[in-house]
Structures are given as C-alpha cells and as structure tokens.
Symmetry: C2
Subunit: 195 residues, 2 copies
C-alpha cells in the first residue's frame, strides 16, 4: 500500500516549508467550519482548527486509508485576544499598534490524519516587536504582505524588520513547526522516510 501525503493548506509558506521534509505531496483544501466557542484558549483553537481542516480533506479521499492528511492553523495571541488575518489597512494598523514594543505569542497547531488514526499537536513561540513609529507601521501596512497572515505581519520578508527577537521555533511563527513535524511524521508514517 502506498501512502499519499496531502497538505490541507493554501499557505505558500507552509507549502515551501513542507518541501524541507517531504519531496512529494499534493495540496487540497476544503471548506472547514472556522467558528470557535467564545473563550476557546489559543492552543485549543489551533489544534481544533488544524483537525477540522485536515478532516474536511480526508473526507474527500476515495481511499482514506492510503492518504496522510496534514492540517495546520496559526493564530497570534495578545492580552487574551486572538488575532486572525486583517481585512483592511485600518485593521492591520490596529494590530501593529497592539503588537508594537511588546511581546505576544504565536500558536501553530498541526493535525495528522491517516485512515482512522490521528495525531494532533501544537507549538507556541514568543515574539517581541520593536517599538514601531507611525511611519514604520504605515509603510508596512501599505505593502501586500500583512493581509494573508494572522496578526497582520509575517516573520520573514519585510516583516522581519518589525521583530526584535523570538523565543521558540521560528517556523512555528512562520506557520509550520517543521522540526517537530519531521519527528512526529517519522513515527506516524515511517514508510515515507529512510530513517
């Protein structure tokens, strides 16, 4: 039996990062319910959303036992609030102002589904922002970069200039904890790896 890995994410960052550990995989995305009960903690939120995204794609497989679906979700958490993607320049500027000169936490959840087996985990990383001047925030919000990213910034690219330092895994902040995922996948789907 061959096992076909499927990434259940549209994110180009996740696609790029997954190539570090898997030479071949396909990408499939299916609509998943992204509503959460009020007050869901961020670690539970990313695990639940990663699982829903992966489950929606597994349900489309004609042979679910031969599919390995990888779902993932990332949120930014600060002051007990969860920040998703900004929908306007105004909302992006509000997020950047909230993050400016302070530390927040990024959570990324990952769900691995294979037939009726599943494994779900998450990683958290702290991110400290430089204090941002209004010109710096305005410049960044005028680029296309923030608008497909949780919290209104990317830790790579131009967004790297906003970040003073991190505590934890850089790729968790980027959206996929590849070094942990590599270790989980080698035990969850060993036939995909030579060691």
């Amino acid at each position: 039996m061959s096992l076909a890995p499927i990434l259940a994410s549209r994110s180009p960052r996740r696609q790029e990062l997954l190539t570090t550990i898997l030479p071949e995989f396909s990408i499939q995305v299916s609509a998943a319910d992204e509503t959460l009960p009020a007050g869901t903690p961020p670690d539970e939120a990313v695990r639940l959303l990663a699982l829903r995204k992966a489950s929606a794609v597994l349900a489309l497989q004609p042979a679910p036992g031969e599919a390995l679906v990888i779902g993932s979700d990332t949120v930014v958490s600060i002051d007990g609030r969860i920040l998703g993607k900004p929908h306007s320049q105004e909302e992006c500027l509000e997020m950047l102002q909230l993050l400016s000169g302070r530390r927040h936490t990024v959570y990324t959840g990952v769900a691995l589904l294979r037939g009726d087996r599943q494994r779900v985990f998450h990683e958290a990383a702290g991110v400290e922002f430089w204090p941002l001047s209004p010109r710096e925030a305005g410049w960044y919000a005028s680029t296309p970069e923030p608008y497909d990213k949780a919290g209104g910034y990317g830790v790579q690219g131009l967004g790297s200039l906003l970040v003073k330092g991190i505590e934890g895994d850089y790729f968790t902040v980027m959206g996929l904890p590849v070094s942990r995922l590599w270790r989980e996948l080698r035990s969850f789907a060993p036939e995909l790896f030579s060691f």
Copy 2:
C-alpha cells in the same frame, strides 16, 4: 554627494538578507587578518573581525568618503570554545555532536564604515538543538550545507530540522541582524532611506 553601499561579505545569506533593507548595493571582498589573540571573547571576536573585513574593503575605495562599507562576522560559541566553519566531514560530525541536545550561542558582529566615521555593534542569540541520533548527524554532514557555515549548520534549509528553538533574533543566527541593522543604518546613513 552620492553614497554607494558595499557589502564586504561573500555569504549568499547576507546578500539575500541585505536586499530586505537596501534595494541596491555592490559586493566587494578583500583579505583580512582573521587571527585573534587567544582567549578573545566571542562578542569581541565578531566585532573585531567585522571591522577588519570592512576596513580592508574601505581601503580599496578611490573615494572613501562616498562609500558605505558593511562588514559582518558570525561565530558559534559553546563551552568557552569558538566554532568556525568545518573543514571536513569528520570535523562537522564533531561539531554536531557537541551541539546535540544542548544550547549554544551565536554572535554576529556588524561594522559600518563611511569615510572616517564608524559604528560597530553585535547581537547574540541562543540556539537549542534537538538531541541528534548518529543517523541524523551523519545524514546532515553528508549534505553540502554545513561546510560554509560557522558551527557546521545553517538555521535555515535542512539545518532547520536540527533546531528545536532559538532565543533572540533569527537573522543574527543566519548571519546578519537585519532588523537592528535597518535601525542603525537609518541614523548612520539617513540619505539612503525615505524615513
């Protein structure tokens, strides 16, 4: 008077990172003395080597007052030892074994020279390695990746799979602290920036 930025480094990582903040610059490298007095602490070592690399390139300029030279140097420090680039697979495996399952510190120094003005700074970041099995270390040492990198690994690419987490600036580990450099350059050479 126009100001021509010059990066005094062969590292493709530094070249790529510098494009985040400077749209145009040239690359020039000149031999600099890389010997250090025994017992030089790692922070002094990277500042001194960054300055020597930049000074060697500034000395080649016909109009030093119109040049802005950026020099940089990175070392890995663990147990009071400084690790440079590995020269053989055996030396690379020794370095990986030393780093396995532990935390080390990466220092990157930067020197900015412009005519008779200079500014030198450094950043340090902690890096925690996953415990590496002999197969993992052997696999990584068999790739071309470690051999042009201080400490025998790169924090990006395949080397990302060895790293559990960092504390500090990711780009300091990669070899150029771009977010700090952006802030230093805007005050050292404000005419290169619109704000």
